[in-house]
Amino acid sequence: MIELRGVRKRFGEQVVLGGVNFDVREGETVALLGPSGSGKSVLLKHINGLLRPDTGTVSVDDTQVPLLKREALAQLRTRIGYVFQNGALFDSMDVFENVRLGLSDEEKYRDLEYSRERVAECLRLVNLPPETVKKFPAQLSGGMRKRVGIARAIAGAPKYLLYDEPTSGLDPVNADVIDDLVIRLDEELGVTSVVVTHDVRGAFRVADRLALLYDTLIVLEGTPEEFRDSTDPRVRAFLERDFDSSSFAA
């Protein structure tokens, strides 16, 4: 279980998180919605310790993340897969080496035969052909890069998956492909997921629960139905900007 309590974070004079409370229960998929620049990615980076809160607590499976030492934090991160907004693939490595780096067990990483099998399995899970392994990130389309990023995140068989804007910059068809992938991975791998997005339609498709981060705080957390029925003007303004409510009623 992931728990954030009273998390505050500022960069210089700019307050990004102003005392955020946020929970993710085991096995569920939570979509964190919010306008661009509202601090969604900053919140996500607190969960795997890439950022530390100025005040407040962040715990994963009852472990206080900001208090972890270097080795313990590295150990925790092997249980948390992180999918970056633009893939964040290592451009000097081919797809095989990129995905292989996701193998958290050093023995397995050094076992070339196991690595080959595991990389092929991960690429199959994200619907990429086996011959992709020889390509370099510069030779891939935006959608393929995101899928390789997902393959790398799942290579170490994590318990949690954190997606940072997995569909941003993609056309609607490719965005749907990624959303379907998120749903399928949740089902097949049984992971607990947090999906940061400003794509309302995609969020309603993939999430069991949603949360809206607005003006440094979570202003609503609930099921898709609760979101749809909310009369909070901030929620309505955010939802109705993307599409009318009949689109996500189905």
Binding site: A74, T78, I80, F84, A88, L89, L101, G156
Partner: protein, 262 residues
């Protein structure tokens, strides 16, 4: 109340605090670097390929610069030559000038530009495209994957390149001085050996090693702490070259005082 005026004490105070912050972060990076040395299976193969890339990639410019530097040293020595001195002194002058000073400092400054800018730009781009965050989020150490191989490669390869530069520059100086003054091969070789001390070679290599370490560490630090996109990468690359060059000149004075005047 803040106004638009210039407050020298505040300015100096801020500079001092910024300097302390840099010093603290460099110290933390050094600590990470030493801690990461235990993961030799990760950094060793990367160091070998990085060192090969630095060595082979820099060889042409090193040969070019050392050849010209040796020849110009010989021509200028010939221009200022006083006939009252024995000509074999030219061998001493050219060899010692190149080995003690020109070889390590020139090559250090050139490589501060060449590999310093490259390291800072590579790591800076990795920072702004979240590749370094990705490495950390995979539970892997950026020190053993990215920093140790680069710092070690520049520390190891700079002395190697300086040895090559010293040999080429002395050779060019030898050929050059024969064009402008009646110096025989015997005169030059005699002069080169007459004042030669084995410590001179060690001094050249100690300086080259220190310069290589400084270039690697400073440029990795600048690249690793890059902020604000493409502009930030440009600033990091510039800062890496300027700071490395200044530190090379400072180290040059410091090592001359410590090692030559004990």
């Amino acid at each position: 109340m803040e106004s638009g005026g210039f407050y020298p004490f505040r300015f100096i105070g801020r500079l001092f605090l910024a300097g302390l912050a840099h010093l603290g972060r460099v110290s933390l990076m050094c600590a990470e670097l030493f801690r990461g040395l235990a993961e030799w299976r990760i950094w060793l193969p990367r160091t070998i390929s990085e060192a090969a890339s630095v060595g082979v990639g820099s060889l042409f410019i090193v040969l070019l610069i050392s050849g010209f530097a040796g020849a110009v040293t010989a021509f200028q020595a010939g221009y200022q030559w006083q006939t009252s001195l024995p000509v074999y002194v030219l061998g001493t002058l050219i060899t010692e000038t190149i080995i003690l000073e020109l070889g390590p400092v020139l090559i250090g400054l050139v490589l501060a530009g060449r590999i310093g800018a490259r390291y800072a730009a590579e790591l800076g781009t990795m920072r702004v495209t979240e590749q370094i965050d990705a490495l950390e989020s995979l539970g892997r150490s950026p020190a053993s994957h990215l920093i140790i191989p680069r710092v070690l490669a520049s520390t190891i390869m700079l002395p190697v390149l300086v040895i090559i530069a010293d040999v080429v520059a002395v050779g060019a100086g030898w050929l050059g001085v024969k064009q402008v003054l009646p110096v025989t091969d015997w005169d030059f070789a005699y002069g080169a050996q007459y004042f030669w001390r084995p410590f001179d070679a060690w001094y050249s290599l100690i300086k080259a090693t220190a310069f290589g370490w400084a270039i690697g560490l400073i440029s990795c630090y600048m690249g690793f702490n890059t902020q604000q996109g493409a502009e930030g990468v440009g600033k990091s690359a510039t800062a890496a070259v300027v700071t490395s060059s200044v530190v090379i000149l400072l180290l040059n004075v410091l090592l001359a005082k410590i090692l030559l005047h004990q």
